[in-house]
Each structure stands twice: as structure tokens, then as C-alpha cells.
Amino acid sequence: MAYDYAKHIRPGKLPHIWCPGCGHGIAMKGMIRAIDACGLEKNNTAIVSGIGCASRLPGYMDYCTLHTAHGRAAAFATGVKMARPEMNVIVVGGDGDGTAIGGNHFIHACRRNIDMTYIILNNSIYGMTGGQFSPCTPTGAKASTTVYGNPDPTFDISKLAIGAGASFVARGTAFHAAQIDKLIAEGIKHKGLAVIEILDDCPTTYGRRNKFRSVVDMMKRLKEIAVPVAAAAKMTAEQLEGKVLTGILHQENKPEYCEQYAQVIARAKCA
């Protein structure tokens, strides 16, 4: 049976604004399947975003949706979650939004380990503004502001999240579409800050400048570079050169922020 995405999408909002071949739609479908699999109630689920192509995603979703300012999604979401810990809070945004202008909010959400699911759609470019390089644009790549090749080193978002204290970190790709919902569902079920990085592509502003003939070429690249963590364990360093690990990269149990604050309340009431 075809999957019933429509029951999660606001009537009349499709087709979405994303360009032909943009992986954001693939990730959005994965997110919908995950929300469905976890049985999240629409009225009790907030989907929060910043600014950029990926951040337009909540507008399509028939949930409590909050499209905030550039980079600020995690901080708005923290306010929502603190004020109503019973709500499920999902943050969605792009690599520039999350790790450049929003980098501080991102790492501190990870550090607090607040029970939210942060989905980063990493297309390694600022798409909405026309293809300027982001912290995730590969060194040497062409962007509208790096026509001579990008001099900047890149962030590994998943490593950044692990280092900052997120207790669940996973990575998938738009090519491996069937895996996306499973990773996000595991993240939603996890108690604590779950980061799910989805590698996808911007054929319009990145692909064209970087000698990808089409999004199909870009999807083939995702297929080639992705190595599941289990498979990677059996591979040599040379074999892993240029590859990207996918699957659940990190998971641990540690104190969750709202629960910690509930203890503060308990102590204050006794004081």
C-alpha cells in the first residue's frame, strides 16, 4: 500500500517549494514515517525550524509549527520544551542554519541533552540565498562566494554533536531513503537530545557549480560514500578514505535536561 503522507500534511500545501531533485522532500517523507511510527499526536508535537530551504519544512506539516529566525530554532525549541515538557519537540533545519549562525544554540542544546529531536538536512550549501559556502561545504568546492575553491575546512556535524554532548547521533542519506525513518524514529524514542544528520543534495546551487551533471549523479555519490557503521568496523583506514559512516553513530543514557530541572523544582519546593 502506498504510504499515506497526506494525513500529516496541511491540505493544499503541496507541491512544496523545493527545487527538482532536492533531497529535502525525501527527508521530509522519512520524518513523516518516523512520526507516524512513533505515534506522535499532532496537537502535542511541535516542529520548529530556523531559516533556509530546509526550514520551510514545518509549514507543510499539520502539527504545531514554528518557523523562527536564522539559526535560532534550537533556542526557540528549548523554550517550548522547557515550558511544556510533555510536548514532543522536533527541530529541523539546514547545515548553515544549524552549524554556522545557529552553531552556539546547536552545541548547547546538545550539551543540555534536552529531550528533542534535531534533524539536520545537510546539503553542504546555503541554497535559499543562491549557493554560498556553508561550514559543511567541502574544502576546495565551488560556491557563489568561493569561485576559486573553498579555503575553509568543514564541520563533521555528527562528530560536533557527539563532542557537544548529544546522547543520540545518527547519520543517513537521501539516497538511503528507507533508512531515514528508522533513524529518526530511534531518535524520537531516545530520551535526550537526538541529532539525525541527513546528507542530501542541492543540485541547483551546489551540483551545477561542482560538475555534477544532474541530481542523479549526486545521489550516486551519496550511494558510493555511505558506509554503514557495522560494515565500517571491518574496513581498513584506506578503505574508509573518503567514506562517510551511516547509521546510529552514538547512543548513551545520560541525564535529560527537563528531568534535571524537575528535580530543581522538587528541591526548590522543599527549600
Binding site: P58, A69, A75, H105, H108, K269
Partner: protein, 379 residues
């Protein structure tokens, strides 16, 4: 029964006023000279099941406040000049998305780091124009510890009533001053709660002007689903670039504060010996305390001086100042900046009387002697 009294610092009074108003969320970041507001609320809010969070930066603090308010909480942040500068982005967000919240600005000198432990009144135009784009502003300027309490309560009331950010600006002198305060009994001061939607969730639109120019705001997690964005939006909350929607929404968001009926509610001033005054002193915050002393001294000398003290600074009391400008020989505007509110006074009196500015920015308060000397310059 005698009222509960205390010797309280201004920042503490602010925190107590917030609690009286029903504040249940504080998001902040440490900054002098406002930090005591956060410290007190970090102790008091959890006692009532409220939430205090120290965020990673000023912008995050403002974001958390807006997020919490969207779930129905009365939410507060407190900061000072550099923090207010950082918050401007999201003060604009709260304006366009129409999210109630209160921002306390304990004013120090500036620009930039300036004089963190010294007083200033140089953020008063920033309060009006700090965030980009056209928007209405409500800013209150209490002048005593007692008034910080009552004006913080009123700030929450106006934020909830008009569905917008409200700023409370007081200078470091009042913020750190300790004075006797009488705590109002519960019910003594009006406390306004957010209007709830009167329609079912299926029929709810967050900007539905058929309910007036301040449409009810539902809370996330209360059974209502809707979209909130910082983009120009139509009445259903979804982004639009349609000229007629954008224009109507922008104008509504300003007129809901600036129209006469709203001004009658929002504006609040104190007039001291103004009726027969020949020279008017326009002063707010701690400067108004020196000005009141100056008025008394001048009267002893036979000079008919009067004090106009705005308690609501924005929207500006345009009509009253214009009327007084036609009656007096001149208006003196002492303030701890190099010329900000005098521009507004000049604008509204339209040359009907001279406006003399008296500025001080060396970290010391304006004293009555300086004000008296300036008043005597009015011919």
C-alpha cells in the same frame, strides 16, 4: 492588616513584580546591571513550578522566551545594553509574529560595552527603533523601586493584552537602588491574562482580525495547531507576499498600539505642578527624581517650573506634550544621553516653544543644580 513591606533593590522588585503578574518562564543571560533579576527568579520560579533557564547567549534567551510564550506561559527576559542589541533580531520576531513577552533593560552607558556599572538612559531610542522594519513599541520607564514592581506587572498586562513584546527600561541607579516597597496584595493590581480563542481548533486562525485588531493567540500543546513565522503572513499565519495582506497586517500591527483608544490605555504620565508651569521639565527614570527636586527649589525662588514624567515612554505622549508646548515658555529635557528624547519633544511641539537639552554621559546622575541652571536659561 498592614501591608507587607521590605527594603528592596530595584532588580529584586522587578522579579517580584513579574511573579505577581503570573510570570512562569524566565530565559536570560548574565549581564550587569540586570543580573539580579535572573538571580531572584532562578530561586523563586521553581518554587511555583515555573521555569528558569540560563541560555547560551542573549539571542538564545530571547528565543527561549518567545518559544515558552507560544505555549501560553507569561515569559520574561532581563538584560542590559549589549544584550538588548543582540536581542533586537528576535524582538522584531515577537513583533511580527505577535508573541507576548516582556524585556527588562537595565540601562547602562554605551555604545558597546561602555560603562557596565554606571547608569545611562541612552537606550530609549533603541527601544523604539532597535529592531529593523516598521513596528509599534511599548516601553515603560519606572523611576522608583515601587514603580519597577508595578510597571513590570503592567508590562505583562500590556504584552498579553496587545500580544506583543513590551520593554521596561530603567537605569542602573533605580535598578540597584534599595528603597522601601509595599507589596500589593493579590488582586490589588490588575493582572491581565491572555485572551483564549473562542473558536474550535478547526476554525482557528492566529491572525484572524474578525476578532479585532488583537486576535486571540492559542498556545501550543492546548489542542490548537497553527503555524507561526517571521515572514509576512496572512490571517491564517502562513507566509504571503500578496501586497494587500502584507500592507494590512503591517498597518494593523502598528495601529493596535498607536490608535487613540489604545493610547488611552497604554499611555501613563505623572504631571507635577504643571497646571501653572511656565517652564516644563520633561524627565523620566532616575533623572525625574532630580527634576522633581529642581522643581521644588525653583518654585521657592518664584520660578514656575513643572515636571512632566512619562511612565510610558513609547508610544510617546504626543498630544499632551504638543498641548503643553503651546502653554509654556520652554521645555527642558534632562536625560543621561546626548540627545534622544529631546528629539521627540522637538518633533511634537513643532517649534511652538524652545526645547533645551541637558545631557550627561559620564556615569554620574544629573543633579538638581544642573537642571535648575538649565531651566534658568529659558527666556
Amino acid at each position: 492588616m498592614a501591608k507587607k513591606v521590605a527594603l528592596l533593590q530595584g532588580n529584586d522588585a522587578c522579579a517580584q513584580g513579574a511573579l505577581y503578574a503570573g510570570c512562569t518562564f524566565f530565559g536570560g543571560y548574565p549581564i550587569t546591571p540586570s543580573t539580579e533579576v535572573a538571580e531572584v527568579l532562578s530561586i523563586e520560579l521553581p518554587k511555583i513550578g515555573g521555569k528558569f533557564i540560563q541560555m547560551e547567549d542573549e539571542i538564545g534567551a530571547m528565543a527561549s522566551v518567545i518559544g515558552a510564550s507560544l505555549t501560553g506561559s507569561k515569559a520574561l527576559t532581563a538584560t542590559s545594553g549589549p544584550g538588548v542589541s543582540l536581542k533586537q533580531e528576535l524582538i522584531g520576531y515577537a513583533c511580527i509574529a505577535e508573541v507576548p513577552c516582556v524585556i527588562i533593560n537595565v540601562m547602562r552607558g554605551g555604545p558597546s560595552t561602555g560603562m557596565p556599572t554606571g547608569p545611562g538612559q541612552s537606550d530609549v531610542q533603541q527601544a523604539k527603533w532597535g529592531t529593523h522594519g516598521d513596528h509599534a513599541t511599548i516601553a515603560l520607564v519606572p523611576a522608583s523601586v515601587q514603580e519597577i514592581f508595578t510597571e513590570t506587572v503592567r508590562a505583562f498586562n500590556l504584552a498579553e493584552k496587545y500580544r506583543m513584546p513590551v520593554q521596561v527600561l530603567y537605569d542602573e541607579i533605580v535598578g540597584h537602588m534599595r528603597e522601601r516597597i509595599e507589596f500589593p496584595e493579590p488582586g490589588e493590581l490588575e493582572v491581565i491574562n491572555r485572551a483564549a480563542p473562542t473558536v474550535t481548533p478547526e476554525n482557528y486562525k492566529p491572525y484572524d482580525t474578525s476578532f479585532g485588531d488583537v486576535p486571540p493567540l492559542a498556545g501550543f500543546g492546548t489542542g490548537y495547531r497553527f503555524h507561526v513565522t517571521g515572514l509576512n503572513k496572512a490571517q491564517d499565519g502562513f507566509p504571503t507576499t500578496k501586497a494587500e495582506y502584507v500592507d494590512a497586517e503591517e498597518r494593523r500591527q502598528i495601529s493596535k498600539v498607536e490608535k487613540d483608544e489604545a493610547r488611552a490605555v497604554i499611555e501613563k504620565n505623572e504631571e507635577y505642578l504643571v497646571d501653572d508651569a511656565e517652564v516644563l521639565i520633561f524627565a523620566y527614570g532616575s533623572t525625574s527624581r532630580s527634576a522633581r527636586y529642581a522643581v521644588n527649589e525653583l518654585r521657592k525662588e518664584g520660578i514656575k517650573a513643572g515636571l512632566f514624567r512619562p511612565i510610558t515612554l513609547w508610544p510617546f505622549p504626543e498630544k499632551r506634550i504638543a498641548a503643553l508646548g503651546k502653554k509654556v515658555k520652554g521645555i527642558v529635557v534632562p536625560e543621561m544621553n546626548l540627545g534622544q528624547m529631546n528629539l521627540e519633544v522637538e518633533r511634537v511641539v513643532k517649534g511652538t516653544c524652545p526645547v533645551l537639552h541637558l545631557g550627561r554621559v559620564d556615569g554620574e546622575p544629573l543633579n538638581p543644580g544642573q537642571i535648575i541652571a538649565k531651566v534658568k536659561e529659558v527666556k
